[in-house]
């Protein structure tokens, strides 16, 4: 396996958009899975010899990064670039006759950044942004929100379609009316962002003719390297080399080092497959995997004080098999599934709305949400409960195996 090493000014695209029917999640090759399985069986019989092997960088010699270091090494994804790439992708559609196709959907999985990309596009190009209705307007099927929508001959962007409905008997009508209107062309030309779970649910809610939808291409290991490189905010002249902690295998570097190491790492491939190529999820795991040596941190601090530059810094990456992922409570009840599914269908909800939508008592919901927060599966931000990026793959697989409606990503 090769370890991609890319330059900072690499011009290759980090965002690519494809029709959702062409979406394909990265996979770990069967040969690799088989080889790994066999080597694990082999290890069982060679326990004595294994014990004598020493990890390249023992865990005890490393420490995780603090918030400021994480911000320096893995800052937020570049959504602005995503917005620009999206605009380029839709250029042809924007300039064409568009007969019968007045809207295009951008569908992304949770933490995939559909709203951020569309907001970036809208703000960069001064495009009309449609704000979502309030929960009260949704429940009342309020005409006032529909009246505030753009008229014909306007180009508009609506970043969060998932905020237009509530899974409640009174919470679907406004969404249907909005889609009827948007699809008819009465609102002019628009791009609508939608979370993939809401998208899956809305296929059962609105029975009109769905316009075309696009999504970000799933990030494979090469794409992940490009993304991670662009998340670096290095101090002047600093280059980073990312190596796997157990065997020293280089993952990638930001410098010009030649990769002569014989050691290889399947970390990025595993990460791409586990996160389904979802950059938000991959980044959350990536941030949890990064470690440095305590003396490296000290050296960096001294250099900061002296305003000097650091030549090169090795960042150690926890091996994939040693990573601990959040897990569901041992006896996950029906309540857990309901809360998680409802949160995903709405891409996050306040406690009051959860109470309104779930067939559970307030204290049951609170208990479940607390339990899930403790397990690292749910986070609370801006008065909204959301499935955490770090816990999303586990939650998705749990809901899927239990027969709940899932997204296609």
């Amino acid at each position: 396996m090769t370890n991609p090493s890319l330059k900072q000014d690499d011009t290759q695209k980090i965002w690519e958009f494809i029709p959702i029917s062409e979406y394909k999640s990265p996979e770990v090759p069967v040969s690799q899975v088989t080889r790994k399985g066999l080597s694990q069986i082999w290890r069982i019989f060679r326990q004595e010899e294994e014990k004598s092997e020493v990890a390249f960088k023992p865990e005890s010699d490393l420490r995780t990064l603090d918030a400021s270091q994480l911000e320096q090494i893995s800052s937020a994804p570049n959504w602005e670039a995503g917005g620009s790439a999206l605009r380029e992708t839709l250029q042809t559609w924007l300039k064409s006759d568009r007969i019968g196709q007045n809207i295009v959907f951008l569908v992304e999985p949770p933490h995939g950044g559909h709203a951020e990309k569309l907001m970036a596009w809208a703000t960069q190009n001064d495009v009309t942004i449609v704000s979502p209705p309030t929960p009260e307007q949704i429940m009342e099927n309020a005409d006032v929100w529909l009246a505030s929508l753009p008229e014909r001959d306007t180009f508009w962007i609506y970043p969060t379609l998932e905020k237009t409905y509530l899974r409640h008997a009174s919470g679907l009508s406004l969404m249907r009316r909005f889609l009827d209107r948007a699809a008819s062309g009465a609102m002019g030309l628009g791009v609508i962002g939608c979370d993939s779970w809401a998208w899956a649910y809305l296929q059962h809610v609105w029975h009109g003719s769905w316009p075309s939808a696009i999504t970000s291409k799933a990030s494979d290991q090469t794409q992940l390297v490009r993304q991670f490189q662009r998340m670096l905010r290095p101090k002047r002249g600093t280059t980073y080399l990312f190596c796997q902690a157990d065997n020293g295998a280089p993952l990638f570097s930001t410098g010009k080092e030649d990769n002569n190491s014989e050691k290889t790492s399947d970390y990025l491939q595993q990460l791409a497959a586990f996160s389904h190529g979802n950059i938000g999820v991959a980044q959350a795991i990536w941030r949890d995997s990064l470690c440095i040596e305590p003396d490296e941190a000290l050296r960096e601090k001294q250099n900061d004080d002296e305003d000097a530059t650091l030549a090169s810094q090795v960042i150690w990456v926890t091996p994939w098999d040693d990573l601990e992922h959040p897990s569901l409570p041992a006896k996950a009840s029906e309540q857990v599934a309901f809360v998680l599914h409802t949160l995903l269908l709405h891409n996050g909800l306040s406690f009051e709305l959860l109470q309104q939508l779930l067939p559970l008592a307030g204290n049951q919901i609170m208990e479940t949400v607390s339990q899930l927060t403790e397990a690292g599966l749910v986070t609370y931000q801006d008065k909204t409960w959301k499935v955490a990026a770090r816990g999303y793959p586990v939650v998705r697989s749990y809901l899927k195996s239990n027969g709940y409606l899932c997204d296609a990503f």
Binding site: H168, A169, L172, Y201, H204, T342, P359
Partner: protein, 272 residues
């Protein structure tokens, strides 16, 4: 030298230890496999759970057959004549003494092949509705929604209608009834009830939702048909649909019909 006309071996020829070990071993295997598989199945969901539960009686039959095959040659001289005599005598005795019992045993074997019910299925036999918990050689144990265990002998299979609501699968149709005063906007009510099911936390969205409207002399009968995610949720699902359906209908001022109570009581069979 063995005398072929002698059915059973001499006591001195029979290795009682071996026979005992086979019997005890089989019993242990059956008990362990039953407990183990049921424990594993309780941790699983969906089709894996149903598959594992269904394999319990098959495995038990397999162990019993192997135990018999291993035991018979150790007890009798396995000549053709002896086997015919043994089977004939056993058949005659069993036929008279345990007619129903044997009938149930044979029906039990038939159930393994025809599979009219499997563990995890929701069935109704002779007016009793419940979930199949275990299938033994002679009978099937079902647990009703009121948590009552009912043992139904397999021989019911010969002459009774057996209603299987999910037939080995995850999909079990639930019907929720609404009885309304006839003076209302039926199209709107139908639409609202559809949304009530569509927005339920329990609903299986991969399966269709239907609203059937029937006009009766006392009013209008709505039957909301939908599938829960898990068959075990059926009663909670119907409760949820009823509560939210009534709430939604009350909000638009639809009146409920009280005259339908008598009819609904007559129709009730236990299954939602």
């Amino acid at each position: 030298m063995n005398d072929s006309s002698q059915l059973f071996r001499d006591l001195s020829q029979i290795n009682l230890v071996q026979v005992g070990l086979i019997l005890v071993g089989s019993w242990l295997l059956i008990a362990t496999s039953q407990r183990l598989l049921q424990q594993v199945a309780s941790r699983l969901t969906g089709r894996y759970r149903l598959f594992l539960l269904a394999s319990v009686p098959v495995l038990r039959l397999l162990i019993i057959v192997i135990a018999i095959v291993l035991t018979i040659p150790r007890l009798i001289n396995p000549t053709f004549e002896n086997l015919v005599a043994l089977l004939g005598a056993a058949g005659l005795a069993l036929g008279f003494a345990f007619k129903d019992y044997v009938s149930s045993l044979i029906a039990g074997i038939v159930t393994l092949f025809e599979m009219p019910y499997r563990p995890g299925d929701w069935i109704e036999v002779d007016g009793t509705y419940g979930e199949v918990k275990t299938i033994s050689m002679r009978s099937v144990k079902i647990v009703t929604p009121d948590d009552t265990v009912v043992i139904v002998p397999h021989l019911k299979l010969w002459d009774q209608l057996i209603f299987n609501a999910n037939d080995g699968g995850q999909h079990l149709l639930c019907v929720t009834d609404f009885y309304l005063h006839p003076n209302h906007d039926a199209a709107r009510v139908k639409h609202i009830l559809y949304d009530v099911a569509l927005t339920s936390s329990f609903v299986q969205l991969g399966k269709p939702i239907n609203v059937i409207v029937l006009d009766k002399p006392w009013g209008t009968h709505y039957r909301l048909k939908a599938y829960p995610v898990d068959p075990r949720q059926q009663f909670h699902f119907v409760t949820d649909l009823t509560i939210r359906g009534k709430d939604a209908l009350r909000q638009i001022g639809v009146e409920f019909s009280a005259l339908s109570v008598m009819e609904s009581t007559q129709q009730y069979s236990g299954k939602p």
